[in-house]
């Protein structure tokens, strides 16, 4: 079965006065229906930029995009990068939807939530305002908003953060899209609400059999919901694997560092948190060779400054596990043990 979304060699860059900002560089990934792909990385690693490009939400005047993002729709595949804007627009909200980081500012403050959800429904369905309203109430009920008959006429400022994210989800899913891109959906929420929202996304995925792309920097979130993970660094995917492999068998030095930096209550009593030293590189002047090399603890074990010269390619190390590193798996495992 071919994947629902196939992103191939996608690069997104922004021309600025200081030079071309290469936000994502030649990346490829795919996601199947019913599957959740987590894209993990720090701020500026290109995880949002990539998916905004898939949705066609970049300002075309200020963005250079190359590569392909193919949606395998029942009506046939379509490349949303090269397709005309009007065609892509009609896929937004119907075939693919997106929810965002900050539910506080993502809803229009002047329209009731019912109006905003109805607007999405009316765009792709024949029916009057009353039908749209009833459909909105159904959706609000589905995403777990109590008393939807009453709340449908309320305004975003009358909802809490978690409830607003539920409204966003209701709005995103009202036209049964097959792809949901969730861009750090829980970052702005507190921890208990976070897990409720993640659970909701998971329930909705089952309900609608969607492909879900979850963008996050929180590995805890990844562990909770994802099937597969892409780890991004400086606009590139450095490791791609199943959920188990990333947590028990991570092989890229950056992924290892990310995992080691998670605070743990059961370990490290009185010790400092482990960090990845250094700063993420400037996306205008990427370091030569491997982008992570200046910060990499293991680079010195690679003979002949290979990391500083040659960019490693993303290569298969086992089924469903790809890594871009000059060290092979056994070497990394050994070094990892030494470092711990």
């Amino acid at each position: 079965m071919s994947a629902f979304l196939e992103v191939q060699n996608l690069s997104v860059s922004f021309p600025t006065e200081d030079g071309l900002v290469k936000a994502t560089n030649d990346i490829s990934y795919s996601v199947n229906l019913g599957e959740t792909l987590a894209i993990v990385g720090e701020s500026g690693s290109g995880k949002s930029v990539t998916n905004l490009a898939v949705m066609g939400l970049h300002n075309p005047a200020k963005t250079e995009i190359s590569g392909k993002a193919i949606l395998n729709l029942p009506s046939g595949p379509i490349d949303v990068i090269s397709a005309p804007e009007e065609e892509v627009r009609k896929l937004r909200g119907s075939a693919m939807s997106m929810i965002f980081q900050d539910p506080m500012s993502s809803l229009h403050p002047y329209y009731s939530v019912g109006d905003q959800i109805s607007e999405a429904w009316l765009l792709y369905n024949k029916g009057d305002k009353k039908a749209a309203r009833n459909r909105s109430i159904e959706m609000l009920d589905l995403v777990g908003i109590p008393d939807p008959h009453k709340r449908v006429d309320e305004f975003p400022h009358q909802f809490s953060g978690g409830m607003r994210q539920r409204v966003m989800i209701a709005m995103a899913l009202i036209n049964n899209p097959k792809l949901l891109i969730a861009d750090e959906p829980t970052t702005a929420l507190d921890v208990t609400v976070q897990s409720q929202i993640l659970q909701l996304i998971r329930d909705m995925q089952k309900e609608f059999n969607m492909a879900v792309i979850l963008i996050t920097h929180d590995l805890g979130v990844v562990a909770q919901v994802a099937n597969r993970v892409c780890v991004m660094y400086a606009g590139k995917i450095v490791e791609e694997s199943t959920i188990d492999d990333i947590f028990y068998d991570s092989t890229h030095p950056y992924s290892i560092g990310l995992l080691a930096s998670i605070p743990r209550v059961d370990k490290y009593h009185g010790e400092r948190l482990k960090v990845i030293s250094g700063q993420p590189p400037s996306l205008i002047n990427l370091p030569s060779g491997c982008s992570f090399q200046p910060r990499c603890e293991f680079a010195k074990y690679v003979p002949g400054n290979k990391c500083g010269i040659e960019t490693p390619s993303l290569s298969q190390i086992s089924t469903n596990h790809k890594v871009s590193c000059h060290l092979d798996k056994t070497q990394v495992q050994q070094l990892k043990k030494q470092a711990m």
């Binding site: 937004r92 403050p109 002047y110 400022h157």
Partner: protein, 333 residues
């Protein structure tokens, strides 16, 4: 909501009472004596005193003010015997220089000022907002830069320059309105063409000055709103660029304009002194400037000041109520 409006109206009235009192107190401390001005150098003291009584200035400032307040509701009587006459309620007093009840003077001047303010208001909103939106949608392109030039010229040209230029180079040179007709009041209901002829260019003069700042304001608001997260949400829904602009961007971007437009309009209702002067329009601005500079006509000054304040204060109230309908976040329980 009703309770809120009630409370606001009460505040508004209190503010107006206070303003009227302040105006009386200010004129009380000024070193000028309207009674002394009523007759010439050789005036006898007893005549001055008689006039002071006639003007109602022989009592304390508090009493003068109280008489004014009572007169607003009951009308006022002046002088005695055969010279007695009555200004009906709402009486703003009697102008002894002009020998008219002040309410009548205002009744003549207000339609002029109102026509000027309304015409200018409509023009500057139409021009400023549409140009601002147009510039914002073409940010950085020719239209945008042209609008920036317009904004610069418009804000740096005072009305006493632009007004005179319009008067000289358009009205007089092309003989669009004969100088004799300038400033002539035509009833807009019986003679709409004459009314337009009188007011078009004065309105344009005023509108140009305001339109410039509205262009800038609209442009930056639209650009700012375009970058809002909820606009991205609207795009992610699949709405067309047109719908997003019309329903989402403009709604949020233009809401604050209601506030400043309301207050600017109210400010103009108090009289546009310079524009009225240039185009010889007998409006409230001219009325008050003459009262202050030539006649030292206290009743007229009090009335025009109070009226100007009342417009601003009431418009403030209306804007707040309107805003509650526009922005649900402002709605109070």
């Amino acid at each position: 909501m009703l309770k809120y409006i009630g409370r606001r109206v009460a505040y508004t009235l209190a503010i107006l009472v206070l303003i009227s009192l302040v105006v009386y107190l200010i004129f009380d401390v000024l070193p000028m004596d309207p009674a002394r001005l009523t007759c010439g150098k050789t005036c006898r003291p007893d005549v001055v005193e008689a006039n002071r009584h006639r003007l109602g200035l022989d009592v304390s400032v508090w009493q003068q003010w109280w008489r004014f307040i009572v007169g607003l509701f009951k009308g006022r009587d002046y002088a005695e015997g055969v010279a007695a006459f009555h200004c009906p309620a709402p009486s703003f007093g009697y102008s002894f220089n002009r020998h008219e009840c002040v309410s009548k003077l205002i009744g003549q001047a207000f339609p002029v000022t109102f026509s000027l303010a309304l015409g200018a208001f409509v023009m500057w909103l139409a021009l400023g907002v549409s140009l601002g939106v147009w510039a914002a949608r073409n940010k950085g392109k020719f239209v945008d830069r042209a609008s920036t030039t317009f904004v610069l010229v418009g804000t740096s040209l005072p009305t006493f320059i632009s007004g005179i230029l319009i008067l000289l180079f358009i009205v007089v040179k092309f003989n669009l309105v004969s100088p004799i007709d300038l400033g002539k009041w035509h009833n807009p209901f019986t003679d709409p063409f004459g009314w337009i002829k009188t007011f078009f260019f004065p309105c344009l003069t005023l509108a140009l000055a305001y339109a410039a700042s509205y262009t800038r304001f609209t442009r930056s608001n639209v650009i700012e709103t375009t970058a809002e997260d909820f606009i991205r949400t609207a795009k992610a829904k699949g709405l067309s660029a047109r719908t997003i602009m019309r329903k989402h961007t403009l709604r949020a971007a233009l809401a604050p304009i209601v506030t400043i437009a309301g207050l600017d309009f109210a400010g103009l209702l108090g009289g546009a002194i310079i524009t009225e002067g240039i185009f010889n329009l007998p409006g409230l601005g001219r009325l008050s400037i003459r009262a202050v500079l030539q006649d030292y006509d206290l009743p007229v000054i009090v009335a025009t000041t109070l009226l100007a304040a009342a417009f601003v204060v009431f418009m403030n109230l209306i804007v707040d109520i309107l805003y509650a309908f526009i922005d649900p976040r402002v709605r109070v329980a």
